[in-house]
Symmetry: C2
């Protein structure tokens, strides 16, 4: 399948979005970036990988993000650092996108690459039952309240996205394609995405 598209994947925790991105990248024969971006961003920026990991795991929360909007006058030293890490990571995303088609998971890549002529932004979600099942059985998470963990993780992802992009995480209009995995499975989601990309390429060729 011909493809010259950068695919960004935003996903609810436990929806299988990462797995879908990985399989789609394999199917298209293009690189896949998730945590790989942290290593790259650390190499390219000089900040330690540990700092990116800490930011990735969400030391930040909604209140801190809100406070940071009013400047750094309160001694919360990690606020500007988070912003610096975001900028460094964004530069890494732009660098990998310049190298050609790839799949990038999370990290506001849809926003970072806005204006890029060949970007396909995808949002993957699922029903709570299937998310709990995946988090427990496939991610091996042990928790008394997995649903709470899922909700909190998504809240953090939404806060991060909304803060850095000024848009609303999970609004259909931000993405070219959004789909729910529980009714089609991982394979069905990959096949649907591949069909969408094929249609996009066909339309592009038609208009050339």
């Amino acid at each position: 399948m011909k493809n010259n598209t950068i695919i960004t994947i935003s996903r609810q925790y436990g929806s299988g979005g990462r797995e879908i991105g990985k399989r789609l990248a394999e199917k298209l024969g293009i690189p896949f970036y998730d945590k790989e971006l942290i290593t790259l961003a650390a190499q390219q920026s000089g900040y330690s990988e540990h700092l990116f990991e800490k930011s990735d795991k969400g030391a930040t929360n909604s209140l801190l993000y809100s406070l940071s909007m009013y400047g750094n006058t309160m001694g919360l030293y990690d606020m500007p650092l988070n912003d610096k890490l975001f900028i460094a990571q964004s530069q890494t995303i732009k660098n990998v996108a310049e190298q050609g088609p790839c799949v990038i998971v999370g990290r506001c890549a849809d926003y970072v690459l806005r204006g890029h002529p060949h970007v396909l932004n995808v949002f993957i979600h699922s029903d709570m039952e299937s998310k709990i099942k995946r988090v427990v059985e496939e991610y091996g998470v042990e928790s008394d309240n997995v649903m709470d963990l899922i909700n909190k993780t998504d809240k953090r992802r939404a806060n991060y996205y909304n803060y850095y992009t000024g848009m609303k995480w999970g609004r259909a209009e931000n993405y070219h394609l959004a789909l729910r995995t529980d009714c089609v499975g991982i394979d069905g989601a990959v096949a649907t995405l591949a069909q969408f990309i094929e249609a996009q390429n066909a339309l592009t060729n038609e208009n050339d």
Copy 2:
């Protein structure tokens, strides 16, 4: 293609959602309901078709909806009527869904049919440029400010949906599949939907 699914389509004005629904229904060989529901609802409820049309064209707006939530003590006689029309229309939607697979456009059908075992909820949107083009060239709308018309129409659709469902119109998680038409065209959107339905049927058969 085997299919036992009721497909509901919510759509931004000018996105081509109605056309996609119509073509998908043809492809699947199942009935298509848009304005046809008004005639049916009038026949089944005894209210005049004119009343449904008036409600459909949006005599209501956000303020009136909000007021209606506080009861009918202000002499706004059409408020309970709108609710009655919604209930009558919902009953018609349930009736047509009982008859088997079909495509239903708008009218909060996703919410009305919640809990139905075979419903696929779809949201169709597009970029503003392509929506303006479609509204002018295909719907033949003459207006000094088509963008304003599009925004107001979608605002009305969102208000109607949010009021009657308690959910947020256009949030990806409300729909099994949401897609943007400008990058794949009508044919590409229909092909993607067909692929998703095929994957859904395959998974259902696998789990049977």
